[in-house]
């Protein structure tokens, strides 16, 4: 099992900071979120920064990035600043 950590509005929707997941890729995790919480949550998750074990999933295979036993996936809202 991997652990998914929610931030921002996703945390509000999920009602939890962390959850266990048996998804084996980021894509499978997103589908799981869609089934569990609906389309809005799916869109929020897809548009999040997805960090798998401290690495930006965008640079490690995108939505195909593998999740392993003990992996931690962080879903963070895209923000700006300066």
């Amino acid at each position: 099992m991997a652990t998914v950590v929610y931030f921002g509005a996703l945390r509000e929707i999920a009602g939890a900071k962390e959850q266990e997941t048996d998804a084996d890729t980021v894509r499978a995790l997103l589908k799981q979120i869609k089934r569990q919480y609906g389309g809005d949550a799916y869109r929020l998750a897809k548009r999040s920064h997805i960090i798998v074990d401290g690495k930006n999933a965008a640079l490690t295979g995108g939505f195909s990035t593998a999740l392993h036993i003990g992996s931690t996936v962080q879903l963070l809202p895209v923000c700006g600043g300066g």
Partner: protein
């Protein structure tokens, strides 16, 4: 064409004179930091003491202030940097710039030094200099409460009066934070500058301007960054992403990850402390956070303050950060340099090099220490000198986290190496904004540019610096630049294939990006809402033949002139550097690329800039920019 009118104050002689800006200067520099750099270069003698009577301080606006263009209420201060000895500039929101323009002046130039505290009042073109002895000693909030409510105000607190090197100037609850803007006013005994006026801005082509402003405002409101993210979480929304990327400075930049970061993140602030969000005049973004401190609603902290008074000193209390932010503001202290200096002092203590009574994780005495720094009491006076000077006395240069003498912002550059280059080459010292803010493309933004590769970073840094300087010179907030990242990339998501391709393209296009300066302005003869919407708005407001290329050239000219000022004041290529911790010590011992590779990036940066190997703008570059 309406040309800017400045007022020149000689505080030693007690004279005031109008100082009109001619058309040539206006065309070349517009206003704000670029025009102020020209004035500082021309009006101040080389080698002047930044706190002496010969120093020149400029407070100015840009042509877009008071026009109603979106996010155009920013004003600028330019002066000799009290921390670095080079150029100092600081940009501030709020109402002062708007009111100064309405009062009939585009800028104020101060030279000389008063022996008594002054309040400068500008009311509809009339300038009055009043005694401010009764205000001296008051904090920034108390001072402003005693001044007429309707006026735009710029004041200093005790830190400015006591010449703390990183004292800021305060306008409402906004600050001109960096480089000692408050100290240079304090040295001149200027406690307050206030302005009120009823004059509306003259816009060259009102019909086209109004139409374009409406279109641009709609675009900003509809863009995911300026219409959703910044209003929802403010800049503090970056805390968790920076932390997840190991780019959140922790324990004086020893690490980039802090386990408790979420406790002071923008999301936590939004859900637990936010009373409402707010914004500057004419700004549709409304990024400002409002929070409660001591039962009163005040401005909340920005990302830099959250990161540096959170992870970097190992504090996880958001309530305390809110209190520190408020305290620093009313005392007139730049939170970035203050926090950086405190973190350095904590590490000095940890290593047994010096004990200022501060240590990582200890928070019970921080507010007291901050008050003592502002008052320069006892040993705390040394903390008011900044981390560079502390390291010269007590050692620890390798971990004194500054560039040119000014402390770094809250992006750990070993996880955003282009931001590291930017810190090193920023004209005012360790500043993310003066450095081109590559963190947006590398570590916290929606495009997945490889944060660790040095490839492409010099080229993009030059482009970003030029664009940011141009926007600032016109009077715009830099947040308006963040819409150049296309909205659809937010919808596809940062982890999508298309965003990954975009990230690779940023690196792949480096040759072309590096040539943009060479082909500007002629090669970029268009304006686009999707790239830099500012240029079209400037064109309609001023009547100048403004294009994207000319817009970027104004930024490039200003940046190069600031560089020439730095060189004249004794800075050199040796000062384009970072402390050894960031360039020699891997953040991750197993990842060789988690250092800032200055040896690779700096020569490329100089070449793209059109500078020689010693970082001096070449004759060809100076001729192109009219800087001979």
């Amino acid at each position: 064409m309406k040309l800017p009118m400045y007022a020149l104050f000689d505080l030693s002689a007690g004279t005031i004179a109008d100082y009109p800006i001619d058309e040539d200067l206006f065309r070349q520099y517009l206003g704000g930091k670029s025009l102020a750099a020209r004035l500082l270069y021309d009006l101040s003698p080389p080698g002047a003491d930044p706190l002496g009577p010969e120093a020149v301080v400029i407070i100015n606006t840009g042509p877009m202030n008071n026009t109603g263009a979106p996010s155009s209420s920013r004003f600028n201060m330019t002066f000799k940097n009290v921390l670095t000895g080079g150029i100092g500039f600081s940009n501030c929101g709020g109402t002062f710039g708007f009111m100064l323009k309405r009062a009939g002046y585009d800028g104020l130039i101060f030279k000389g030094q008063s022996h008594t505290p002054l309040c400068i009042e500008i009311t509809d073109g009339e300038i009055t200099v009043r005694d401010a002895a009764s205000l001296w000693g008051l904090d920034a909030e108390q001072t402003q409460q005693r001044l007429p409510q309707a006026y735009g105000k710029l004041v200093i607190g005790p830190a400015g009066e006591n010449l703390v090197r990183y004292a800021c100037a305060v306008s409402g609850e906004r600050v001109a934070g960096r480089g000692g803007a408050g100290a240079v006013l304090g040295a001149k005994r200027i406690k307050a500058v206030i302005a009120f006026g009823t004059k509306k801005a003259e816009v060259h082509n009102k019909e086209k301007f109004d139409k374009y402003v409406a279109k641009w405002t709609k675009f900003l409101k509809g863009h995911p960054m300026t219409g959703e993210s910044l209003p929802a979480y403010g800049s503090g929304g970056l805390v968790n992403k920076a932390n997840a990327s190991h780019a959140l400075p922790t324990r004086n930049f020893q690490k980039g990850y802090f386990a408790s970061a979420d406790e002071f993140s923008g999301e936590t602030l939004a859900y637990t402390k936010l009373t409402r969000n707010s914004g500057c005049i004419s700004c549709p973004i409304r990024c400002e956070r409002r929070v409660r401190v001591g039962g009163r609603e005040v401005k909340g902290p920005e990302y830099e303050t959250l990161g540096l008074f959170g992870a970097n000193i190992e504090n996880s209390s958001l309530a305390l950060i809110n209190e520190i932010n408020y305290t620093a503001d009313i005392l007139g202290l730049d939170t970035i340099s203050l926090a950086g200096t405190l973190a350095f002092a904590m590490e000095l203590n940890e290593r047994g090099l010096a004990d200022f009574g501060v240590s990582f994780g200890r928070t019970d005495n921080l507010i007291d220490v901050i008050y003592r720094i502002a008052r320069r009491e006892g040993m705390y006076a040394e903390l008011g000198e900044g981390s560079k000077r502390l390291s010269e006395k007590y050692g620890g240069a390798a971990f004194a986290i500054h560039a040119k003498g000014m402390e770094l912002a809250a992006y750990e550059p070993r996880r955003s190496v282009g931001m590291g280059l930017g810190y090193a080459v920023s004209n005012r010292g360790g500043c993310h904004l003066g450095g081109g803010y590559m963190a947006l493309l590398e570590s916290v933004g929606v495009i997945a540019m490889d944060a660790q590769t040095p490839k492409g970073k010099p080229e993009w840094t030059v482009l970003m610096q030029n664009a940011m300087d141009a926007a600032s010179s016109a009077g715009f907030c830099l947040f308006t630049l963040q819409t150049f990242v296309p909205a659809f990339l937010y919808k596809t998501g940062p982890s999508s294939k298309i965003n990954a391709i975009a990230g690779k393209l940023l690196v792949g296009l480096r040759w072309f990006i590096g040539k943009l300066s060479a082909i500007s302005p002629g090669g970029l003869f268009f304006n686009s809402k999707y790239l830099f919407p500012h240029s079209e708005a400037i064109k309609h407001a001023t009547g100048l033949r403004m294009t994207t290329g000319r817009f970027l050239e104004i930024g490039e000219r200003g940046f190069n002139l600031e560089r020439l000022y730095n060189l004249r004041e004794g800075l050199s290529a040796e000062d384009d550097a970072l402390p050894e911790r960031l360039t020699r010590t891997r953040q991750d011992a197993y990842s060789p690329d988690t250092v800032v590779d200055m040896e690779t990036m700096l020569p490329v940066y100089y070449k793209v800039r059109g500078w020689d190997r010693k970082g001096v703008p070449t004759h060809k570059k100076r001729r192109k920019l009219g800087l001979l």
